[in-house]
Amino acid sequence: MLSTEISPKAQAVVEAFKKKLTRQAVLSLATCVNCGMCNESCHYYVATGDPKMTPAYKAGKVRKLFKYHVDWLGRVAPGWVGAKTLQTDDDLADLKDVVYGSCSMCRRCTVACPFGGDTALIMRLARGLLTAEGLAPEGVLTVSKDQWEIGNQMGVSQEDYLETIDWLQDELRSEVGDPQAAIPIDKPGANVLFLVNPREVKYAPLSLLAAAKIFYAAGEDWTMPSVGWDNTNFGLFSGDDKLGAHMGKLAYNQARKLAVKKVVISECGHGFRATKWEAPNWAAEDLPFPMESLLETMVEYVNSGRIHLDPTANPRPVTYHDPCNLSRSAGITEEPRFLLKRACLDFREMTPNRQESYCCTGGGGAMSMAEYAPRRLKVGSIKANQIKTTGAASVATACHNCVDGLSDLIKHYQINIPVRNVCEYVADAVVLHPAKVVEPLIPALKGRRILVIEDDADTVTYLTTLLGDHGFETLGARTAAQGLTLARDRQPDLITLDINMPGRSGAEVFAALRSDPVLSRIPVCVVTGAIDFRELMYLRNVPAPDGYLQKPIDANLLLLTVQKILHVRHREEVPETAGAPA
């Protein structure tokens, strides 16, 4: 090495790199002949045409390090084989941009490679080295911290989690028309322990409600755990095997403690892959219980006649997006198709699909990395075109990251169709007896005051009218200043907040609300047509919003979300009525 000016962090990364090499990683690093056959498998390259976006180029950043320090010829003649070490903090920043910002670890290039070089494995290895030095994107570090300290990626307290399940139980009873319908917590010896994505608890309860309805319809003996319920695992994204093992163990220990027959993992691509396949390896545990995806469980219900589906419940054309972690890392491709073909009248295949599906762009933890959002949206043109070509009226997928990633693309490319989890279509199609009875509003929430901050006059009118018609008292504000004044003067029970407003943005208003000792207690639901709000969800410089909804607004989802937030807050204010459901 010519220069002795090597930064301490670069030195640490290099030293750790040599120690973390497995046989599979060495083979993936050593075998590449730069043939370029992987180039056109990558949506980053196909969408941009940028030579620096090919998998070989990106993985080449790590390969250079391998050649410099490990490869025989590279150590003798580094320039001859393109070997290069990391010396400065700028080198590390460059590596971070590549391994975090230019690759969603989707593995499409892996199945395209004539050798089978695993670029995702290489990227994860490099991410782990950077994470160990605190050089991962802020959103990844924040979420990882919450998984370490709180046990779930959205920082949901146990109290809020239990309150949400309690509220969902009420919703389930209303939905199925059975006051005995239950979402059990910590039920010993249950047949199924159901693990979920915190997004379902915090922001998107419809999929959890759908799963509960399906379990109810199947007469399943199931339970959710009070701890260790998060099936997601940022250890997979950050390359931190210890975090990966920690998150796995939280769930596995609860399954052992409750002596359940099996663990069922909700529709989360990376969550399923991490919990079922990777975390047992990271934790070095051989598990005594089987684990399966909710998709597999639902197929079993249909095949055994435990649930019956009426496809006329979903008459409009539906297509399916294969989550990378399910199709290329877990072998789950036919189950969602089996279900959608029985739950929908018009299922349309998206091509390419299954192991060759393009990434939604939200993989690899990309949704938590706000700094790379513009690049993510740009390379999403491939997936957006695929969706458009199907002519479908909605997109089904089996992953919450994909729901978010696709929703952003659909908004950005103005396709304007909804994205839902497979279980939501199945729940819509499940035949229940008696017919469902829907209660419009929990009585205790009637008269609660909601402030709508939104610059568009029509939207203010729509939201205040909709909420007013359902028993809420409403206030409307069309500017940030007016909103903050009304919030201080009228102390609403909930604020719905637009993000893109002229002048002071919704993000600034949100920060002001969260920083004010009085106003910070008011829950906020972001209602936006932009995708910038993900920064609020993941970076969490101030506590994250209590809910978010995307425009165009789905009236039912709005009411459900508002009720959920107010219900949880109401139970917190009246603790004697709170408690875990039976």
């Binding site: 046989r23 370029g36 084989v81 199945v111 072998g331 036919e334």
Partner: protein, 223 residues
């Protein structure tokens, strides 16, 4: 009839080849031992699929170009790959046959076939070299070893075209001289990828087979 050659040429075709081959074998043995010195990751969860089927599929894709995205979308590249590697394999075989059984490859039909195979291989090597130089995405991932290896292979196969009739001593000297050079150089260069191929495909097939990804379901995955 085979050409009478000088002591130097005979030495290059025989003793030097054997020495270089032994050196290559020694380096490869060391290399395999080196690969195996790294601990292999293993799956702890019971298999969803079948390891054996996954491994067989992973190896089988070598002959199933429609199974890989790149070769399906660019079938000519698969033809290039096949012809180029056949050329190299035949040239290697020739270096083992010609010094000891020159008559076995001496008939006009065999010679012509060898020359056509080598010429096509050399042309493909040149075309790959040009693509690497011209295409920005290929240029971005290329190191001097990539260009050098292709150029040398083109030269070697070109020399094979001239050496195949066994009528020109300079051609034989060039062909076998380059062969000896490759035997020593290849284990350290990118060309040694074939020694890794059985290992990486084995682990890939085992991994994807374990999880039920390989072999893929027999359904259309593409337009």
């Amino acid at each position: 009839m085979p050409l009478e050659v000088s002591h130097l040429t005979r030495f290059v075709m025989d003793e030097l080849q054997i020495a270089a081959l032994l050196f290559m074998a020694l380096v490869y043995a060391t290399k395999i031992r080196w690969i195996l010195s790294f601990k292999a990751g293993r799956e702890r969860t019971p298999a969803r699929g079948d390891h054996g089927r996954g491994i067989r599929y992973a190896y089988g894709t070598l002959a199933l170009p429609w199974e890989l995205i790149g070769t399906r979308e660019h079938p000519f590249r698969y033809v290039e790959f096949a012809v180029f590697h056949i050329g190299v394999a035949v040239a290697i075989a020739l270096t083992l046959i010609m010094p000891y059984w020159p008559g076995a490859v001496g008939s006009p039909g065999v010679v012509l076939t060898l020359q056509v195979v080598f010429a096509l291989g050399a042309l493909i090597a040149v075309s790959r070299l040009l693509r690497r130089m011209v295409n920005p995405a290929m240029r971005a991932i290329s190191a001097p070893d990539d260009y050098f290896s292709l150029a040398m292979l083109a030269a070697w196969l070109g020399a094979g075209v001239l050496a195949a009739p066994q009528r020109s001593e300079p051609a034989l000297l060039a062909f076998f001289g380059l062969t000896a050079f490759f035997l020593v150089y290849v284990p350290f260069s990118k060309i040694s990828h074939y020694i890794y191929w059985p290992f990486i495909r084995y682990y890939m097939g085992k991994h994807f087979g374990h999880r039920g990804v390989y072999p893929p379901k027999a359904v259309p995955r593409h337009a």
